[in-house]
């Protein structure tokens, strides 16, 4: 459940991330691959070494999807429908992995924003990422 204040905060934060989408996205992925090496098993088709073009490109896509979802929070299911189908029928990611990436996104935001990543911002983004992942995993079964 997101309050209106939280929804505004979420949009503000993700809007700030759009210009640095490649940096933020690739860093979150790299943190996930380093801390949770099993997540690399889903990326054997890409070059996910630090600063690789694939990593930056993929990171950018993730941040852009999160930013778009943030602007359409009340219609997440509709907005994310294609991505949701993709994750369910093609990627078939073990659902526990969403939490791992979400955590690494939080850490990346914390490093980037420093003390501006307040407890209230942390709570709002964590709730948003949980809701986002739930929609992505919705069609799994």
């Amino acid at each position: 459940m997101l309050s209106n204040t939280e929804k505004e905060l979420i949009v503000q934060i993700w809007d700030k991330m759009i210009p640095v989408a490649e940096d933020i996205g690739s860093e979150a992925l790299l943190r996930m691959f380093t801390t949770f090496p099993k997540t690399k098993t889903y990326f054997s088709h890409l070059d996910i070494s630090p600063r690789s073009e694939h990593l930056r490109c993929h990171g950018k896509k993730i941040v852009q999807a999160l930013a778009e979802g943030a602007r359409n929070i009340s219609t997440l299911t509709t907005t994310l429908a294609p991505l949701s189908r993709f994750h369910a029928y093609q990627l078939r990611i073990h659902p526990t992995n969403f939490k791992l990436l979400n955590h690494c996104i939080l850490v990346t935001l914390a490093c980037y924003m420093g003390e501006n990543f307040t407890p209230v911002a942390h709570a709002a983004i964590d709730k948003y990422l949980s809701a986002f992942s739930a929609v992505l995993a919705e069609k799994f079964r």
Partner: protein, 147 residues
């Protein structure tokens, strides 16, 4: 037994060396209670925990934050035998405090986020990985006596 590489020990020591227990402890516990509100059930004697402002200003939260970090310091000083070092703490949390062990992970995650806000680009992916490996061993040790 957990194997630690030299770089991992160094990374974990480096993170600890930068920790201001009062400030980091207070903020970590604050975030736990704000981001995961169900954890407030364990702190009934702490007074006003009704909203984030109250939690952030609560002196008992601040004091307890220090207690938690001093507990972690015990693990740092006994990295090669965290399981046995934590035997009585594990029993305390399971028998007396009756904490759902799922919450240990959440506290660890909040601490990691606080460290990230302080260390920023110095909290590299490699340092994060070593730090989280340490926290995973700590959480596992705390869960040991639950049965």
């Amino acid at each position: 037994m957990v194997q630690w590489k030299a770089e991992e020990r160094a990374a974990i020591q480096a993170v600890f060396a930068k920790l201001d227990y009062e400030s980091v402890g207070r903020e970590t516990l604050t975030r736990l209670l704000v981001v995961y509100p169900w954890t407030r059930r364990y702190f009934g004697g702490f007074g006003n925990l009704f909203n984030s402002e109250a939690i952030m200003a609560n002196p008992k939260v601040a004091a307890h934050g220090v207690v938690v970090l001093k507990g972690l310091e015990m693990a740092l000083k006994n990295m090669d035998d965290i399981k046995n070092t934590y035997a009585s703490l594990s029993e305390l949390h399971s028998e007396k405090l009756q904490v759902d062990p799922g919450n240990f992970q959440l506290l660890g995650d909040c601490l990691t986020v606080v460290i990230a806000t302080r260390m920023r680009s110095e909290f590299t992916p490699d340092i994060q990985a070593a730090w989280q490996k340490f926290l995973a061993v700590v959480v596992s040790a705390l869960r040991k006596q639950y049965n």
